[in-house]
């Protein structure tokens, strides 16, 4: 697994792995730092299916840029909107479903 360090101090980004195709991945600790979310909370979000992750080794989770985006969204909703765990799940499920349907619609328009 490729390890690459990029300016932890300034941007708090540590690229910990790269996919064979499709971009970079962050380990749990880095994902927690860049999304301002506690690692236990990220594990919980992953456990209930809110956040996608790749499991590379035993229990080791890796997150892509999309997962970081959703973690930051969830954190903003949780802190700013004071949304409950149940509400968060509902909102994120709906937002992700809207994105999926928009892409499906875009693809259907092509036929």
């Amino acid at each position: 697994m490729k390890k690459k360090f990029v300016s932890r101090q300034a941007m708090r980004i540590e690229i910990t792995a790269e996919r064979a195709e499709g971009g970079r991945l962050y380990d749990l600790e880095t994902a927690a730092a860049v999304s301002n979310t506690h690692p236990d909370l990220i594990r919980r979000y992953h456990g209930v299916g809110l956040i996608a992750a790749e499991e590379r080794e035993e229990d080791e989770l890796f997150f892509d840029d999309d997962a970081i985006y959703w973690l930051r969204q969830i954190e903003a909703l949780r802190r700013e909107g004071d949304i409950s765990q149940h509400g968060l799940r509902l909102i994120v499920d709906l937002l992700q479903e809207v994105e999926r349907l928009q892409m499906e619609l875009r693809s259907r328009n092509e036929r």
């Binding site: 980004i13 064979a20 499709g22 301002n36 930051r72 700013e80 909107g81 092509e110």
Partner: protein
Amino acid sequence: MAVQFRDYYETLGVARTASQDEIRTAYRKLARKYHPDVAKDKAAGEEKFKEINEAYEVLGDPEKRRKYDALGANWQQGQEFRPPPGSTPEWQRRRGEGDFEFHMGGTGFSDFFEALFGARRPFRRGSPFEEPGGTPPGSEPFEAYGRDIEGDIMVTLEEALKGSTRQISLQRLAGQDGHVKTESYTVKIPAGIREGQRIRLGGQGEAGGDLFLRVRFERHPDFRVQQSDLYYDLELAPWEAVLGSQVTVPTLGGRAKLKIPAGTQAGHKFRLHGQGLPRKDGKRGDLYAVAKIQTPPKVSEAERQLWERLSGISTFNPRL
């Protein structure tokens, strides 16, 4: 920030009342003519192809078309256009904290498109969730970890296949004096990127937030994308489908020969293994050529006689 108005109807050569089908047909005809792979003047072709794609990106999407049409019919191509404040994602302002505007470049879209449909904040204070009294007690203010900005970046299928490096710019207009700050970023588009996937530029949002670029695949005149597979409409003459033939089909960056067996049915999918986009497992998806049987719009007298003869002796009834 004024931009030049783009008349997307003029770009595609269609009336403002054109149906979605007419728009799609006009787009495909022009896109095939100006696609960088076939255009005689590559540089001019590429520019024209981008304009056509952007016009179709808006007019081919009923929601974007509705928003574009709402601007009214009196705008002329190239006319100076200033989006009405508050009506577009670009002109997002924070009241009481000084104005803040941003505008993205190098995303594959024109300034006009960016002004109408460009960068936005995914979630921010001032939303219906905000408490009237400010930040609720016990929680950190949002500024502590910045505000994210999200925009779209147009990526070609060739870039998704091979990966690329792009230069984008983010223009920030801060303060009442109209001070503009432009920042440039090099963005790596990794091979195998999927539509809808985001690329994160950490710390490049607002006040230390992140900048997320959401990938939009540039529409291709020949291929439709489904996951990592590509679909191509293979137009066949009736006799090619009935008797069988050999045809050449485009692939991403090349061509392939395809044997059409006798008795091919409309809708049949011919799979060209490994000619799609990269998959997560490192392999490539497939390209499917979908048989579409076309009939000649006009026939000569001799042809008509042959069809009549065929009609007389054939026992085939497609409705049975």
